[in-house]
């Protein structure tokens, strides 16, 4: 193991590989920070360029793009409440609240440190446990996935706000929106009203951009102009994140990394859900849960370590079985294959030195990302100094262009605008938005896994309790529900 890693470092510690990683990080940060340009697109567009490079140059470049793009999604989430990637939606809540309170720098730095720390820990997990974890993940069949999605749905309880009824309404609408498009099994169209564009479903990122960024702008436009004093409060030269503040959240980062890594290892579920799972759990266990949603540094740390922890985990099923868990790793799989490195059971035997070289790159790139990220923060902070009156129109433009860029589809622009109006109305009525987002994220996977389970099963729902792993998870879900109900009754009695 250690010898392998030393050989691996030997493979990549050369100017060409390091330069490729650096270039990849810069490209990834730029793309990730632009709303609507996703890590998947960045890797997909750049991967043909690596076909003719040597593997120890081309693959590090793409791995760096992937890693940096996932991190950089948090930059617009914090500065302009526009999640650059779906995985940064949870970050937008507290990160942007902090930015509005004139603390963009602390939020951005927390996001960077939490991301890098989580990525580093998860990379070590990847190196030590890749093969073993991959076999464990295979034991997760459709019934176990159903239970995992149910656990993810339970996090709605943490972000529900004051009224459970309103949260349930929000989640219900989310589930309905997610069912628009083609039935995943029969291919029948659902709620598309004959429109072939809708048969692909409601695009998620444009809707998210509307719900967060545009709704924010609409709310602002409807509000009375702020007092001059309030404007002056947001001044340059804000405080940096203190070491003590970072140390205080290390338990949260550790826990969220574990959640992210575990979720990342499982196929079909990744950073988008990991960030909500870690955010929800962090809030439940927090000493200051009341700060969540209003600018909690801990919340930013939880969301960001959750989604970055998922990144190295994502690579495991792709490298060990040649089966990508999501679209980014699917594109990476293509890049590996074009290099003659067919991911799968034989990869580690045939190309051990290169594989460990890639692991080494992940570690080195993390250190570089820390330096580059600090540079990016200096630039990003400038955005928050733009007066709101000038920033808001810019946000609208960026949001609409971003919504269009995802699929190059005009329909997505309308979806973003509809999302903005819906988000504005929901805020006015006090209906929380996160339950809707979580429901939309969970619904497609949950539906697929549920229907696959029932097809696999010979006696209906029994499959969920007769399989040992699934049975234990049923017990966990039941216990969590019971505990949440008990807590709710006690609050009411008090």
């Amino acid at each position: 193991m250690i010898e392998n890693l030393i050989i691996g470092f030997g493979v990549i510690l050369n100017p060409a590989s390091l330069l490729a990683a650096l270039a990849g990080l810069v490209a990834g940060i730029v793309v990730g920070a632009i709303p609507g340009l996703t890590a998947t697109m960045a890797v997909a567009i750049l991967s043909p360029f690596t076909f003719f490079m040597r593997p120890e140059v081309g693959i590090p470049f793409l791995l760096a793009v992937f890693k940096a793009a996932i991190y950089a999604g948090s930059i617009p989430a914090i500065t302009i409440a526009t999640p650059g990637t779906a995985a940064a939606a949870a970050t937008a809540i507290d990160g942007n609240a902090l930015a509005r309170a004139g603390q963009a720098r602390r939020a951005l730095e927390m996001s960077l440190y939490a991301s890098v720390a989580a990525d580093l820990m998860a990379t070590i997990g990847l190196i030590l446990l890749a093969t073993w974890l991959a076999s464990v993940a295979l034991a997760f069949g459709p019934p176990e996935m159903v239970m995992l999605y149910l656990i993810a749905l339970l996090t709605i309880g943490s972000v529900a706000g004051r009224s459970p009824a309103k949260a349930a309404l929000s989640a219900g609408v989310g589930l309905l929106i997610a069912s628009i498009g083609l039935d995943p099994m029969s291919g029948q169209t659902r709620f598309t009203f004959g429109s072939y564009e809708l048969s692909g479903g409601i695009a998620f990122i444009p809707l998210l951009i509307g719900l967060f960024a545009l709704a924010e702008v609409f709310t602002e436009a409807a509000a009375r102009p702020p007092e001059p004093a309030a404007v002056n409060a947001i001044r340059p030269g804000e405080a940096a994140l203190k070491l003590a503040e970072f140390l205080r959240v290390t338990p949260t980062i550790g826990r969220s990394t574990l959640i992210g890594f575990g979720v990342g290892v499982l196929p079909g579920i990744g950073a988008e859900i990991a960030c909500w799972l870690s955010y929800g759990l962090a809030k439940r266990l927090s000493k200051e849960p009341e700060l969540y949603g209003r600018g909690s540094l801990e919340g930013v740390a939880a969301a960001e370590s959750g989604n970055n922890g998922a990144c190295p985990g994502d690579l495991i099923p792709m490298m060990v079985f040649g089966i990508p868990g999501d679209t980014v790793t699917a594109v990476l799989l293509g890049a590996f294959m074009a290099q003659g490195l067919t991911p799968g059971p034989l990869l580690f035997q045939k190309h051990a030195a290169l594989v460990y070289g890639f692991f080494a790159v992940l570690i080195v790139a993390n250190v570089m990302l820390l330096a580059l990220g600090l540079g990016a923060i200096r630039i990003a902070r400038l955005i928050t100094r733009i007066p709101r009156s000038a920033l808001s129109p810019l946000v609208v433009a960026v949001a609409l262009v971003g919504a269009y860029a995802v699929n190059s589809a005009l329909l997505d622009v309308w979806i973003a605008i509809a999302g903005g109006v819906a988000g504005y109305v929901m805020r006015r009525l006090g209906i929380p938005i996160p339950p809707m987002v979580i429901a939309m994220l969970v619904a497609p996977g949950l539906e697929n896994a549920l229907r696959q389970s029932l097809l696999l099963s010979t006696d209906g729902l029994a499959i969920f309790v007769t399989r040992p792993v699934s049975g234990v998870m049923v017990a966990i879900v039941a216990a969590a529900l019971a505990a949440m109900t008990w807590a709710a009754f006690r609050r009411r009695a008090a």
Partner: protein, 318 residues
Amino acid sequence: MLKRTILCGALGAALLAGPALAQATFPDRPVRLVTPYPPGGATSLHAAIITTVAEPFIGQPMISILRAGGGGVVGATEVARAQADGYTLLLGDPTINSLRPQVENLPFKAEDFIPVARINFAPVVFVAAANAPFTDLAGMIAHARANPDRIVYSSDNVNGLTFTAFEMLKAGANIRMRGVDFGGGGPAMNALLGGNTMAYAGLPAVVGEHIEAGKVKPICVTDVARLARFPNVPTCAEAGQPVQWLFWLGIMAPKGTPQDRIEKLSEGFAKMAQDPGFLTLIGRINSGIQFLDHKAFAEAFEKEKAELRTLYANLRNR
């Protein structure tokens, strides 16, 4: 003086000829190749390689556009409705171009596309999980007879590649097995490796490594000849059921594209298909080239459409 006159004359001629030439030369701007599936699958891999290599052969850059959604319907519909000028092409396959538009109510018809060039052609391989209670086709059929609906296999989606392969087998052998839809090769293979399902049928590029690693048991190949890579794996006909199902990837243009442009593109792709650099890249993704130009491809396409129509009618009457 004379020199200047000649120069001016030549320049003038060039300026006059310019617009006329531009109209005559196709293509004079980049050509878009639409992949109707998400990134990472066999189709997008081929698209990435084709668009990287194609420029010198067709005279303009090619741009790969990934328009996933609706199991390929969204991207294919977009190309079917695009301007028929040869600048928007689809990387098609038998399910989205010949089977599904004939048997489902889709926003486009099989006749909405003109074949331009077939890139490759591969059979699928039936495989069984390492712990499945059968090791060959006869054993699988016997097990299915003895236990109707108890063999659970990984499928992709209705009328998809794997779905159709199993429907052919079930109809031919008159057996009953249950398919679970996983939407695509990756998740389907995952369920097989995890022991959640007992069988699968997929392209050699998807199942090959797992056969070599001994993680799945090869059953048979849906072609008339064995695969060079797996000389010990019988064809399905040899194993007792003449299932023949070949999956191609090919360039399709929207109906109405001028014939001379179809020919020009077909010639360009023909040259590309012999380029050593292109062949190297294709070989690396465990694929091969079985090129057909637009005429031969169109004939094969018509024949296949008719065959699939008959097959589907038989499946439904069962």
